[in-house]
């Protein structure tokens, strides 16, 4: 299908089809991120640090300068980059397997140091690219190709936004979703705020965004939003968890 979305409205996207699976929410997240960069005039100054996992398909979709990181290492790569070029908009873009499992330490310590970049973590509760294995955010009882998540063996879904929100050096942190138009607008506003805080006040932000993975959830593509509403939101409530602009 030809992409009809106007290039002039979103200079951060290539004008071709997305390589993501039907019902995946990465393209939508790519799109609103691109809109923010275009609307705020950041595009010429932005560098994204890319993950390993489904999120790295963004490389083919977003027309933004990028540094390719290893699996989980975006927090460290972005630290090195931003410290050398504080004038650049630096955004990490990772999934929950990348940012919370193998890269948990890098994510946590970049946040704890309050590195002046914006971390986006797309939480689809599964390892997508490798075919549906259990991830840190897999729900209790959820079936994966590495078994059902049983709390007695694997504990409970990791609440990244809540953990990171505890860290005093963090500027802005919260969990958002893109499963309805209202939520899309809220997420876009959060990304915009995070990038502005990065550039104007040198603050770190963590934006966790819920996504569906219909292929590995074994649901129909169009059922993603419904499943998020019914099963995911009870485990992962939405909202801003830390906002330095609202603190005394």
């Amino acid at each position: 299908m030809e992409l009809t979305y106007g290039k002039e409205l979103n200079k951060a996207l290539f004008n071709h089809d997305s390589g993501f699976c039907p019902g995946c929410m990465h393209p939508l997240i790519n799109k609103i991120l691109g809109e923010v960069l275009t609307e705020n005039g950041y595009l010429e100054n932005t560098v994204m640090v890319m993950p390993i996992g489904c999120g790295c398909n963004t490389i083919r979709y977003m027309d933004v300068d990028m540094v390719r990181g290893l699996h989980g290492r975006a927090g460290a790569v972005a630290t090195g980059f931003k410290r050398v070029r504080p004038d650049k908009v630096v955004i990490t873009y990772q999934g929950d397997g990348d940012a919370a499992a193998i890269g948990g330490l890098e994510t946590f310590y970049a946040a704890n140091r309050g590195e002046a970049f914006t971390a986006i973590m797309v939480n689809n509760q599964i390892f997508g690219m490798t075919g549906g294995q259990m991830s840190p955010c897999t729900l209790v009882g959820q079936q994966t190709t590495t078994g059902e998540r049983l709390a007695q063996h694997m504990g409970y879904p990791v609440h990244c936004a809540e953990m990171i929100a505890q860290l005093p050096a963090v500027g802005f942190c919260g969990r958002f979703s893109v499963h309805t138009p209202k939520h899309v607008l809220q997420t876009k506003a959060a990304i915009k705020k995070a990038i502005e805080l990065q550039m104007n006040e040198g603050k770190y932000s963590f934006i966790e965004i819920l996504s569906a993975c219909p292929v590995n959830w074994h649901i129909k593509p169009e059922d993603g939003p419904k499943v998020i509403e019914e099963r995911v939101l009870p485990e992962f409530p939405l909202g801003v968890l830390r906002d330095c602009t609202k603190e005394a």
Partner: protein, 359 residues
């Protein structure tokens, strides 16, 4: 007192290998350093924690060696000369990141102040990472240019070259020292601060003027494109390096026995060599300074009619340097291994005795 005030310009001064290396990096234009404490490397990290700020650079104490090498990757992609330093165990943790630097053609200088042994090992000196860094750089089979200096002055000299080679070839460069060289002090003359460091036209900084997108380490390419990249860029680069390895020959002209040794062990061997020469034995030494590229030809061109034995002295058990020498001489000259490991050090007497038995 700031580090600046304690260092005097252009004068021979007594510095430890670790301090000299750190200061040489600063003078070579290193603007980013990330490190994690580990004996016997820690002095480099401590020194630079203060010195980077004094010289307009950035210091980050990383949460792990894994993070440190990836910080170097990010800083280097942003255009800065960047370095990290560690000791053996930490280098294992950096393997994946070093491979990523090589594959992404991102320069970086990695220092390994070697300590002993596998696993937790020992904190005392060794040369047990030789094979690890010369065979290939983590997964994937790519290489770093690897230096194995032998004196504190040589540490200073190769550190400057390391940053230049890293930029010229867009490659990681390793400097292997050890607990002896890192902690021992001797007189060095430091170079001037390097001024004209070329800007990296490939650095990543955003699509200014909405020029076409740039990125590092793009591997979402068809297999044949990836293979061609290896064939067209990496293989010729390594072949070019192999044309010009760095090494020192000591009294090899009339030698009946050659000692092969590198790094701190080569110093010990040199004392043994001096004693043996005084006793009238015709002994020489070949000392690799670049461990990769290895001075294969220097060994291969030895005449078996003249050189009856080669003693390979190293702090590694099982031996490691031994295999490069073996590959070079192709069985034409008998090799004898003279080693200690795990922090037990070869003395000049031991190396001399090993030679005497063969003479």
């Amino acid at each position: 007192m700031s580090k600046k005030e304690t260092l005097s310009e252009g004068k021979r001064q007594i510095l430890s290998g670790n301090t000299a290396l750190a200061e040489a990096a600063v003078r070579a234009g290193c603007k980013f350093y990330a490190g994690y404490p580990i004996t016997p490397q820690t002095a480099i990290t401590e020194y630079l924690s203060e010195r980077m700020a004094e010289t307009g650079g950035v210091f980050v104490q990383a949460e792990s060696e894994v993070a440190a090498i990836n910080m170097v990757l990010g800083a280097s992609a942003a255009g800065a000369r960047a370095m990290t330093a560690t000791s053996c165990q930490g280098l294992s943790l950096m393997a994946e990141g070093m491979s990523s630097l090589a594959a992404g053609r991102i320069p970086g200088v990695i220092v390994d102040v070697q300590r002993g042994g596998a696993g937790t090992g020992a904190i005392l000196p060794s040369q047990c990472d030789y094979s690890f860094v010369t065979r290939s750089l983590g997964h994937g089979g790519l290489h770093a240019y690897v230096f194995g200096p032998s004196t504190v002055q040589e540490i200073v000299d190769v550190t400057g070259r390391a940053f230049d080679i890293a930029d010229e070839y867009r490659t990681p460069v390793l400097i292997l020292t050890d607990g002896v060289l890192g902690l021992m002090m001797e007189a060095v003359t430091l170079p001037e601060f390097k001024e004209d460091i070329p800007d990296r036209e490939w650095k990543i900084e955003g699509r200014e003027g909405l020029r076409p997108k740039m990125m590092t380490g793009d591997n979402v390419k068809p297999p044949i494109a990836q293979e061609n990249r290896l064939r067209d860029i990496f293989v010729p680069m390594y072949e070019e390096w192999e044309q010009d390895p760095l090494y020192e020959e000591v009294e090899t002209e009339d030698a009946e026995l050659i000692i092969a040794a590198w790094g701190s062990v080569a110093r010990v061997a040199k004392t043994a060599l001096k004693e043996l020469r005084e006793e009238g034995y015709r002994v020489g030494m070949i000392r690799p300074i670049s461990l990769y590229p290895f001075p294969t030809q220097a060994f291969r061109s030895l005449d078996p009619a003249k050189v009856k034995n080669i003693v390979v002295a190293e702090h590694a058990l099982p031996p490691q340097l031994m295999f490069d020498v073996d590959h070079a001489v192709q069985g034409r000259i008998p090799l004898t291994s003279c080693t200690h490991s795990s922090g037990v050090l070869l003395s000049p007497d031991e190396i001399a005795d090993a030679c005497r038995k063969l003479l």
